[in-house]
Symmetry: C2
Subunit: 319 residues, 2 copies
């Protein structure tokens, strides 16, 4: 940069605004610099809205991870939610509580991290709110997107006999910092939804067992049988297993923040998907929806065990 | 309530969702309970988006103010930003970092506070993100709205010779906790914009001098002369003045969080507004836009002094 670093809030906003001005797309009529952003949605499309807040010490460690990774993750997890509706992301607004010491440097790093994903996915950074305080960094991103002509895909919609698929290997996202670099499966979701009607869709943020349980609950209290041998296990999960002694399969079932998609489709569509996965999606067929409620796991030995959703509950440790 | 208090995140979300289910309006196709909210904007309307983050110790004191007041303020300041575009608010999403101890009780109080404003202004609470941590309460609300057929009113648009008006007495909002109970001037802004084209509009969150300076800067570097005798001074500002010795007028010019509107209109429209204010708006004509840049104040004695915007800068205290 040739300009001196901004040292006040207005100067920081000016700095971000200058960087964004030439980059906003046709959705954004008024970006940063007014009381609201003014957006122009596509006529007739449903609007998708998602918001996620990330806190230092809970979702990242600013000191170790640095602000760029935090910005990347904060936008990435929201884009993953848009992917989980098979939608197209369009614009984001960003609110931050910056630690007072080094606030401007942190804000600029956050922005650098967000820009990478914003550019890749054509998302306008259209507005926000900057604050500084004596507390730890908190960032809250809200992303707006739109459904395709096929409509948004919800969690509700799974039917007994449907197949359950995932888009990548699971587990151990904390091990090598992979949770900081979510790969939003936007293009995968769009390709899949274009190729066949998806009955239900979710992104795996809390863990496969928990997130699949959300689908089953929203679909009217259905159940599922997962095939242990078919669940793709990430190498990070195997590495964690070697260290903590917990089976790698448990990591794959219960760890969060993989940000792969879990989709439910008709059995014959699943067969076609597996024979010829719609690019760029990779697909693993992991189980089947049942009319009997509850989650079950068929082990490699052929036994069927009941399992419970064990993904992350933010409140579990409340006294 | 007959139901036992929710004690986990899912139970809390269920509790909020049950309370919201019957209340969402025609904008919300899918509210709480999926990866995104699905909204149906009015065809042809511009979409307005605003986000604001409030932190314990900075924008409120949870211990003294209680969670209901915090929820009320968090939604209120965002509605004020929609008013500042002369828009109609439609839906909100809410992300929170709850202090772990008492998280559920705090979340329920926040929700109670938000509901009051949401019901008054027809805003759907369409989704959110709940987190708990060992840090102080942080709440981030994002509101979506739409512009009327007359279009959104921006900060840019003031012209030399235009009149500057405000919708209520200013200053001292911290004195008796008035900053916790913003009265979003939604209906006032709509009535005013219907009655005459507003050239520029902003809500007074940082202080009149600062917020007016935003309008002047965005309008191409214009200036303004304010009439000291015409600036409506809130009784809270007079009370603060008695205690801190700072002139009440300074409080009116520089205190933040009044959440009244500052509007700029053609001189003849201002004359008609003052003769017959469009209900429910109250109006005070406080000055005039000038081609000469800078803010000036004509004292009651008739002298003209240069003043500088002295509203709140979150970063001013950075070392």
């Amino acid at each position: 940069m040739n300009e001196p670093d901004p040292t006040t809030e207005l100067a920081l906003i000016h700095w971000i605004r200058q960087r964004e001005r030439s980059r906003t797309g046709p959705w954004t009529r008024q970006g940063i610099g007014d009381d609201c952003a003014i957006l122009v949605p596509s006529p007739g499309s449903d609007l998708l809205v998602t918001t996620d807040m990330l806190m230092d010490g809970r979702h990242f460690r600013l000191e170790e991870d640095g602000p760029e990774a935090v910005g990347y993750k904060a936008l990435g997890v929201n884009l993953s939610d848009i992917a989980a509706m098979a939608g197209v992301p369009r614009a984001a607004v960003v609110a931050v509580a910056l630690p007072r010491l080094g606030a401007v440097r942190v804000a600029q790093g956050l922005h650098d991290g967000m820009r990478k994903l914003a550019e890749r996915f054509g998302v306008d950074l259209a507005g926000g709110d900057t604050n500084a305080w004596d507390g730890p960094l908190v960032i809250c991103v809200t992303v707006l997107g739109e459904a395709t002509a096929r409509g948004a895909v919800r969690r509700a919609g799974a039917r007994p006999g449907d197949a359950i698929l995932v888009t990548g290997p699971l587990g151990g996202s904390l091990f090598a910092g992979r949770h900081l670099h979510p790969e939003p499966r936007i293009n995968e979701a769009l390709a899949l939804h274009q190729a066949a009607p998806l009955h239900a869709l979710i992104d795996i943020s809390d863990g496969l067992s928990s997130d699949l349980a959300h689908i089953l609950a929203e679909s009217g209290g259905l159940g599922a049988v997962l095939e242990a041998a078919a669940i793709p296990i990430h190498t990070d999960a195997r590495e964690m297993s070697r260290r903590d002694g917990i089976p790698a399969l448990d990591h794959a079932l219960n760890d969060g923040e993989d940000f792969e998609l879990c989709l439910v489709v008709a059995d014959d569509d699943a067969a076609r998907f597996m024979a010829r996965p719609p690019a760029p999606a990779l697909l693993y067929r992991v189980g089947e929806v049942t009319i009997v409620p509850g989650l079950q796991l068929r082990t490699e030995g052929g036994q069927v065990e009941t399992i419970s959703p064990r993904g992350f509950d933010h409140f579990r440790t409340i006294p």
